[in-house]
Amino acid sequence: MHISEGVLAGPVLFSGMAVAAAGTAIGIKKLDFDQLAQAGILSAAFFVASLVHVPVGPSSVHLILNGIVGLLLGWAAFPSIMVALLLQSIIFQFGGLTTLGVNTVIMALPAVICYYLFAPLINKKSSIAMAAAFACGFLAVFMSALLVGVSLYFSEKNFFEVATLVVTAHLPVMLIEGIITVFCISFIKKVSPEMLPGAR
């Protein structure tokens, strides 16, 4: 999920950059040199995963997975997502330099919030863990869509209709991300539980 260049107003761009810089600074501080390979390769994996299109009725949506990013990386989600977005903007021209800050906040802030909300619940018994995983996938995309809407609205009051359309258009994506997060987390729990928070 990203906003293209030339759409947002100056104040929104700069506040996005400030928040993204703060988040990235915290993320980098918490990231040891020992974990760099881990974070880099996982952010490459998320880069690839976001190119996956899953079918929804006659159309298809691409996955965002920032909920899972948050669970697996915690605060490191900020630098990780920023790097993935930078590479996307250079290799595919998705987003860009001026909107890098805003786009990082849009995807990474919900990831970190989901980490704090749901990481303690993921290792509970399976019904709670599954509900938490669904909520994590669903809410991460919901908050991202909301942040897109808010950035558009604060740039230009007349973007209101566009902003509501963006949020409602992401409703099916939220459901699918919720479902995929449930299966994905239960898979990781079986195969490689030490990747999940709390096990470390």
Binding site: I3, S4, A44, F47, A49, L51, V52, L87, F187
Partner: protein, 255 residues
Amino acid sequence: MIQEPFASGDSAIHQLSPTLRVVAAAAYSFLVALAHGLPTLAVALVFSLLMVLFARLPLGKVLQRFTVVLGFLLLIWAILPWTYKGEILYQFGPLALSRPGVLLCLEISLKSIAILLAMIALVSTMTTARLGHALNRLHLPDKLVYLILITYRYIFVIEQEYQRLMRAVRIRNFSPGTNLHTYRTYAWLLGMLFVRSAERAKRVHQAMVCRGFSGKFYSLLESPRGYRNWVFVILMSLSLLSLAILEISAPTMLL
């Protein structure tokens, strides 16, 4: 497949110092993103087109990149002119086409396309490895530069890993549809991708430690020198200056 169609070449722009190009691209994108006057933006579009011409890029591939912004631009053109309150340009029955709405759409379209073209011409004309080195030169935190380089190094590997898993499910007659089976299959496939990535990361880290990785990043980038860089700096400063002057002298939206 992930490709970098513009990264290699021998045009005037390809031979400039990457560090200079990153700084110029950032300054230019911000100036254009913050400008409002239509004359400024029209001139910026011309500058951006010139940059693409100087970089001698395959025009077909450049046009393909437009599809990225086209979706959003079509969306705002479909909504804003009809919902923006203001002076009415045309009246189609119950629908009114508002003048400020059309102007805003025009402004956003010009900005998006001008910045997109400049970014392709200045930044996408280097490989991400060189970009990492350029950012290292600009004293970005070591860890961040390292993260960029390692992510870049592994997107291609992991994409192949993903293609391999996809082939495996296709051989088993997987046909995606809107059902739980499809989503479960994708989720497990991605879960496998993450697990394998994490395993790979452990091996990579061990290999790095074996080779004496101590957290210091060494960049052996030799920046191209020569008169071209000076010409570029002068031309770029002149374009930025002229855009700034245009913006100040015609700050309101004019047609």
